[in-house]
């Protein structure tokens, strides 16, 4: 076979070289091509091999880029952001990019071996906003705006999380290591979002009352069940040394109306009640931590906004509110609205996440509820209950934060709920494992409560990414915990 270097074509297509070497110096031109030209993909229309499908930019310099590339033609990617009179160069990015397999792209470019989809998340330090923005990839302009509409940190976070759902929706084995590329970026965004949040007191009554316990209810947006919940809790609150603190994340309803309803409720029931609105969505951990911070009680009861005492069995449920958790953490038996068992303790266990194509294998943790979905019923006798709980161990148990009882001092010593978890999920299991690792007991109280968790609704993309990221964080933290349930528990105990 004969191989010919078309040096005249090369010189013609690259006038800078022609000026240096002329059109006829085949040797010099060939040397340049082999040394630089082929690596730089001179003469290649980059847009045919590298696409930017989405660019998100926040007012604090967070940037998220999503797209695809044919890695054989675009081996490295250099991102540059020009904002007004400032140019921010990320340089050549290899490790910072989160590459993943995209079947749709592979079918077009013909490369099924290398991952072609990419996600990039970063923050520019010392960022200055301006109206003019340009995003260059490998020196080529891929995005520009002369009147940039900057996203708030919250909307950036929401959109960026939703963008990454493409990974969260895949089997965890195929994407778990990729969280390491994205988690630092999201952690930065989440922290910067949390830092700017604040809480305002919407309503308070009876706060001069002496009390030794505080019930903390953290809700997200929806207050539709709040009055019903307060009505059913009223006998345990009315005239009792208990304060009830409601923390609402991202409440979007009419605040005046909500305050009026709470006032009207207080007219009918002698309660110590306060409600605090967060300026955004601080998530489950920060919301509850705030409630704990302002709580005056020595004992804290964390309660989800969909927890109710069972009809006709209120007294046994209210006994839970009055009990002392000592140095430990107590959870309770939770039943669905239809009366069937939802929670009688939890365990955490490890699976092996494997992706042979990507070449990795690592543990990923999973949290399971004992007894979930069994035929046990909230109206069962004590004997029936004892039989149903026969496989639930007393030691090494985790309990869901849908309903917790813990001394404030213990809660604070353990550090409260970790706000490293974005919005929600896995923070309660994290807290339980920290308790256990500190040698503190975690127990399942046998009081029965209703958890109106309802039928699962499809989760929005951003929340799916949150669960994926949080699970990865939880797995990294506790992969070596001595309190992981053995395989036999996972396979045979319920």
């Amino acid at each position: 076979m004969k191989t010919t270097f078309l040096f005249r074509n090369y010189a013609e297509a690259n006038p800078d070289l022609a000026e240096l070497y002329g059109n006829e110096d085949e040797a010099a031109l060939r040397e340049h091509y082999e040394k630089y030209g082929s690596v730089e993909r001179r003469g290649v229309n980059l847009e045919d091999y590298l696409r930017v499908e989405k660019v998100l930019l926040s007012e604090e310099g967070h940037i998220c880029i999503a797209g695809w590339a044919d890695r054989r033609m675009a081996e490295s990617i250099a991102v540059t952001l020009v904002v007004g009179y400032m140019m921010y160069e990320f340089g050549e990015l290899r490790d910072q990019f989160c590459w993943y397999h995209r079947q749709d792209v592979a079918e077009v470019i013909g490369d099924f071996e290398r991952p072609s989809g990419y996600l990039f998340l970063a923050q520019i330090p010392d960022f200055r906003m301006h109206s003019e923005v340009m995003v260059l990839v490998n020196g080529k302009k891929y995005y520009s705006s002369e009147a940039m509409r900057w996203m708030s940190v919250q909307s950036f976070m929401t959109d960026a999380l939703a963008t990454c759902a493409v990974l969260a929706d895949r089997p965890v084995g195929a994407t778990l290591p990729l969280t390491e590329k994205l988690a630092p970026g999201f952690s930065q965004v989440w922290t910067s979002y949390l830092d700017r949040l604040g809480f305002s007191c919407l309503y308070e009554t009876g706060t001069d009352r002496e009390g030794d316990r505080s019930i903390i209810i953290t809700l997200y947006r929806d207050t539709s069940m709040l009055i019903s919940q307060l009505e059913t809790l009223a006998p345990a609150l009315s005239g009792q040394p208990v304060e009830l603190i409601v923390v609402a994340n991202e409440y979007t309803g009419e605040t005046a109306l909500l305050a009026e309803q709470l006032a009207a409720f207080s007219q009918l029931h002698d309660v110590c009640l306060s409600m605090h609105l967060c300026s955004g969505n601080s998530g489950f951990s920060a919301g509850n931590n705030y409630g704990a911070k302002i709580a005056r009680g020595e004992t804290l009861i964390f309660m989800n906004p969909d927890i109710f005492p069972p009809e006709g069995q209120e007294d046994q449920a209210f006994a839970f509110l009055a009990g002392d958790p000592g140095e430990g953490l107590d959870g309770a038996l939770l039943y669905y609205g239809d009366g069937s068992l939802m929670h009688s303790g939890m365990y955490t266990t490890a699976d092996q996440a494997v992706d042979a194509r990507m070449g990795f294998s690592q543990p990923v943790l999973r949290v399971e509820h004992y007894g979930k979905g069994l035929t046990a019923h909230v109206d069962d006798t004590e004997a029936e209950l004892a039989e149903e709980l026969r496989e639930v161990p007393e030691d090494g148990l985790l309990v869901t934060a849908a309903l917790w009882r813990i001394r404030k001092s213990v809660f604070e010593e353990v550090g409260g709920l970790s706000t490293d978890y974005i919005i929600a999920y896995y923070e309660d299991a994290d807290f339980c494992l920290k308790m256990l690792e500190a040698g503190r007991p975690v127990r399942l109280d046998h009081s029965r409560w209703i958890h109106m968790e309802g039928v699962g609704k499809p989760k929005p993309p951003m929340l799916r990414t949150v669960m994926w990221l949080n699970r990865a964080l939880y797995s990294r933290r506790f992969a070596d915990s001595p309190f992981l349930a053995p395989a036999a528990t996972d396979l045979f105990q319920l």
Partner: protein, 415 residues
């Protein structure tokens, strides 16, 4: 005895069955020398701003001695509560000022279930009686127990079934809704049901049967002494009296009449005295249009419009038979009492409270709800049947009067 009636609306604000019953009983109580009667009617102030005074939660009804209005600014029509602090304060004071011995609640709509908490807190020993005018506690579908998406009476009211009518809501919400009603109803001393059917449905739902007494809604007789009932020459004029809405079954009556006209080639006249046509759905109106499309000339349909209880006696005298073709389980059927007062036999569907009231051949005839063929057979039998008509028109018993109903209430209160 100080007797407070707490109702939904007042007939002077908006006419309707429940408010007439409440007002009639209040009037009967007020006329009773042993009773000091007060009436407080909850209303929607947005719908009736002319009855609302800024900042006042309770106001007097003009030109009455002891009748008041309680205009509300908002109402949670799922959980049936209001939670308005201004109103709570006013109502508490109202109760403290009037100190009723008995409070008769007639509704939760615009009254709010938390009012029962407030009553119990303010007057711990007051006797609370509650008339169940419809199935609202059981059914969020306007309390009708009718599944529009299936076209049938709802026989299974468990929360998962409710989602069939309201797919945008979840089962837990319906469990909580039921719980809210039951929690409030637990503070009620006695319930009154206008029909055995309604009582049975509430017992099945969870109320204690011993706490529900059936007392028919009393009726104001309009029939003059010595008045003799007359009929049309052909005994072929049927009247529908009621609301022109989907669940009332006007389409069933028209289909049946058309069937009779087509098969017998005899003239059949239907007079429709129906109000609130604006609340009928487009689909329903189209269905009625379709029934009348290319109808035979023997079928004469006249849409007369709405009526009131002041002229219903005269209007009913213009028909021979009254049809109540409801497809939803009527709780009582006031129109039946009015028909009997006008000595008109009733052709009624066996839906809900109507079923127990109609005795075939005595005060009317009954047919399966929604069955136009069943009704057509009855109509065919009735047309020109003077013997049957005369017997029933002269022998049918009347419904109890308002005074008799009040006496029954007093007996219940004294129990």
């Amino acid at each position: 005895m100080k007797f407070l009636t707490l109702s939904l609306y007042h007939p002077r604000v908006m006419r309707g069955g429940a408010q007439y019953v409440a007002k009639d009983l209040h009037d009967a109580a007020a006329a009773d020398p042993e009773v000091d009667a007060v009436m407080l009617a909850a209303i929607d102030s947005r719908m009736f701003p002319q009855y609302s005074k800024t900042g006042a939660s309770i106001t007097a009804l003009p030109d009455t001695d002891n009748e008041f209005l309680m205009p509300g600014r908002r109402f949670d029509d799922f959980f049936h509560r209001i939670y308005d602090p201004r109103r709570n304060k006013a109502l508490k004071r109202f109760l403290e000022d009037h100190k009723p011995d008995v409070i008769h609640l007639h509704h939760s709509l615009w009254v709010g279930l938390e009012v029962i908490d407030l009553i119990r807190n303010t007057l711990p020993n007051v006797k609370i009686i509650y008339t169940l005018h419809e199935y609202l506690a059981i059914c969020h579908r306007q309390g009708q127990l009718y599944r529009y998406h299936e076209g049938g009476i709802c026989q299974d009211t468990r929360p998962d079934q409710c989602v069939g009518c309201f797919p945008e809501r979840n089962v837990d919400e319906f469990i909580l809704r039921r719980r809210g009603f039951k929690r409030a109803f637990a503070m009620v001393d006695e319930f009154i049901s206008p029909s055995q059917y309604l009582k049975d449905r509430f017992v099945e739902w969870g109320l204690d049967a011993d706490k529900i007494t059936v007392i028919a809604n009393g009726h104001h007789r309009r029939r003059p002494e010595g008045w003799v009932p007359k009929h049309s020459p052909e005994l072929n004029v049927f009247g529908f009296f009621g609301q022109f809405v989907d669940a009332k079954g006007i389409d069933v009556a028209l289909k049946a009449a058309r069937r009779v006209a087509e098969t017998t080639e005899r003239e059949v006249e239907i007079k429709v005295f129906g109000g609130n046509k604006e609340y009928a759905t487009k689909d329903y109106l189209a269905k009625i249009e379709a029934v009348l499309d290319d109808a035979p000339e023997e079928l004469i349909v006249t849409e007369v419009g709405s009526y009131s209880r002041d002229n219903v006696f005269e209007l009913m005298s213009t028909v021979d038979w009254v049809i109540t073709p409801s497809i939803w389980p009527e709780t009582f059927g006031l129109v039946v009492s009015e028909a009997w007062d006008a000595r008109r036999p009733v052709l009624a569907s066996r839906a809900g409270g109507l079923d127990g009231r109609i005795i075939d051949g005595v005060n009317g005839f009954s047919f399966l709800p929604g069955s136009d063929t069943g009704l057509a057979q009855l109509m065919e039998f009735c047309i020109g049947n003077a013997e049957v008509w005369q017997k029933m028109a002269h022998e049918m018993p009347d419904e109890i009067t308002v005074d008799e109903a009040w006496a029954a209430h007093k007996a219940l209160i004294a129990r």
